[in-house]
Amino acid sequence: MNQLLYSKLSSLFKVEPSLATSIGKIQLDKPMMLASGILGISLDVFNRLYRSGAGAVVTKSLSTEPWEGYPNPTIFSVKGGGWINAVGLSNPGATNFAKMIESNQTVPIVVSLVGSIPEDFEFMIKQFENCKVTAYELNLSCPHVAKVGLEVGDDPELVRKIVTTSKNSTDVPIIAKVGLGTTHYLNTVSTAIDSGIDAITAINTVRAMAIDVETQRPILSNKFGGLSGTPIKPIALRCVYEISSKYDIPIIGCGGVSTWEDAVEFFLAGASAIQLGSAIGDNWIDVFGEINNGILEYMKRKNYSSIKDMVGLAKKS
């Protein structure tokens, strides 16, 4: 339909835009999701985030066994904005966690998983048999923990096996989360797609560090950590655009989103939904509601009735 005619019609019928979105088979009422590792260890908190406007929450990345993570300092606030974290994937383990969320019927929960071998993922998915899980997200991209995350994502054969095994273990949609590692992340994306992945989350934190000039030491106990927040937004946006230009796969954009403009940029680049984490450190949980409102206003102004009306538009120019 002609754009002008459409906008006239829609102003006549006053189409109220809807924030609902779909990431392949995954249907969400709202497009903003809580990113993995952020506030994600208790069902009560998930419920609170959902009430605040998150369309789904991603859990901390869970492992087969509980992990304590690294000693403090695990988080550093960067002068130029953003955070460097080396929490070290501390988590209660898949089995404990599954019990914690068994009672959930309300909140769309995406379970993030981290492991070294295909069997890890098979085992963990099994733990959630009795839980309502919206999707699994395979963390192939943590930049600061040995043997898992990027060390897995950078190995194409392992990615193939992990995705295949995970897909065979459940009918629930499976997302692969990629990031900047030591090989090209687009290869990981391509391998994951070939192995049947349902969607891609891009990106994870970017490996980084901070040194204190007075005491002359790296600040994080692990020395290296992952950079998140505003500094990585332009990098994440480029990844989403690159993936959506090259592959036909639903994408969840992640990295430095803190305003509705940021969110819209990711939609325009090709993302169907968005995860955020660091922005909560600045604007607290209200950030979900604020961004939802901003997106709604934008959609009204541009006469869009649904999120998908704007997904990928920047690729047309």
Partner: protein, 270 residues
């Protein structure tokens, strides 16, 4: 340029005060920290060792602040062992603060839980009638008794100590003393910080009698800014929603007084 409170600032310890054989107060200069509200805390980096949440202790001298630390595990022992002239990193202040009522006040502190109570004392009006309860295991673990008395010089006040073993002050748990006091008279505000069980009982005693009561909670903290999730109690994040919560709110929280999360985030019973 104003300092962003999230950015780690390096300060030099200027004075170390032995409070008890296992508790020390470390004094340093920092305008921001010297002006925090009672209940607020800092994340304290002990270079090469760890980073810990610490309530910010007041100092008599303007522009100065302090931490009062009990030697416990490796991290707090690292801080305990910092010498004069050595450097630590601080960020914050973080968290909300106590809502100080007027009139008859009851402040209950156990161990280093006394720290926010001391800062709270610096805000009371000369007309307030203040009772401070100090709970300790035994005589040589009692500290801040003189400090509390000196801060309350101009007030109608009492500073009472109870020790579990009776080696000093009243014998028994400080919460028994709380129960007795709130039974005898009405307090316009009850404030507590210390071991969770002590806070739980104090909140129960006061709240069940309709008194306004607030507790400053402690939980495992990593970020201090509300993103890591390690400090959650039910749906509350202690670092951001707290540390101070009303008795009213706490009585509907299923984890307070019963569960905490360990470093892996697993719920454990107190």
């Amino acid at each position: 340029m104003q300092r962003n409170h999230n950015h780690t600032t390096i300060v030099t310890i200027e004075k170390v005060i032995d409070e008890t054989p296992t508790v020390r107060t470390l004094v340093f200069s920092d305008d921001l920290m010297s002006n925090v509200l009672p209940g607020q805390f800092a994340m304290v980096w002990i270079p090469g060792i760890n980073e810990l949440p610490m309530s910010v202790m007041i100092s008599n001298e303007p522009g100065k602040a302090a931490f009062t630390v009990r030697k416990h595990g490796p991290a707090s022992t690292g801080l305990f062992n910092i010498k004069e002239g050595q450097q630590i990193g601080i960020r914050g202040p973080y968290g909300n603060s106590f809502d100080l009522k007027k009139g008859k006040l009851l402040l209950v502190g156990g161990g280093t839980g006394l720290v926010p109570m001391m800062r709270l004392l610096s805000f009371v009006k000369p007309t307030d009638d203040v009772t401070v309860l100090i709970g300790a295991k035994s005589k040589d673990e009692v500290f801040f008794e003189d400090f509390a008395n000196s801060m309350l010089e101009k007030n109608p006040h009492k500073v009472l100590v109870s020790t579990d073993d009776g080696s000093y002050g009243e014998k028994g748990f400080v919460t028994d003393l709380v129960e007795k006091l709130v039974n005898e008279s009405h307090y316009d505000g009850v404030y507590v910080c210390g071991p969770e069980i002590m806070m739980y009982k104090t909140v129960q005693s006061a709240h069940s009698r309709g008194m306004f009561v607030q507790a400053s909670l402690e939980r495992m903290m990593k970020c201090g800014v509300g993103i890591c999730g390690s400090c959650c109690v039910g749906e509350d994040l202690v670092c951001r929603d707290g540390t101070v919560f009303d008795g009213e709110h706490l009585s509907s929280n299923k984890e307070f007084g019963h569960f905490y999360r360990n470093k892996a985030g697993i719920l454990e019973k107190y």
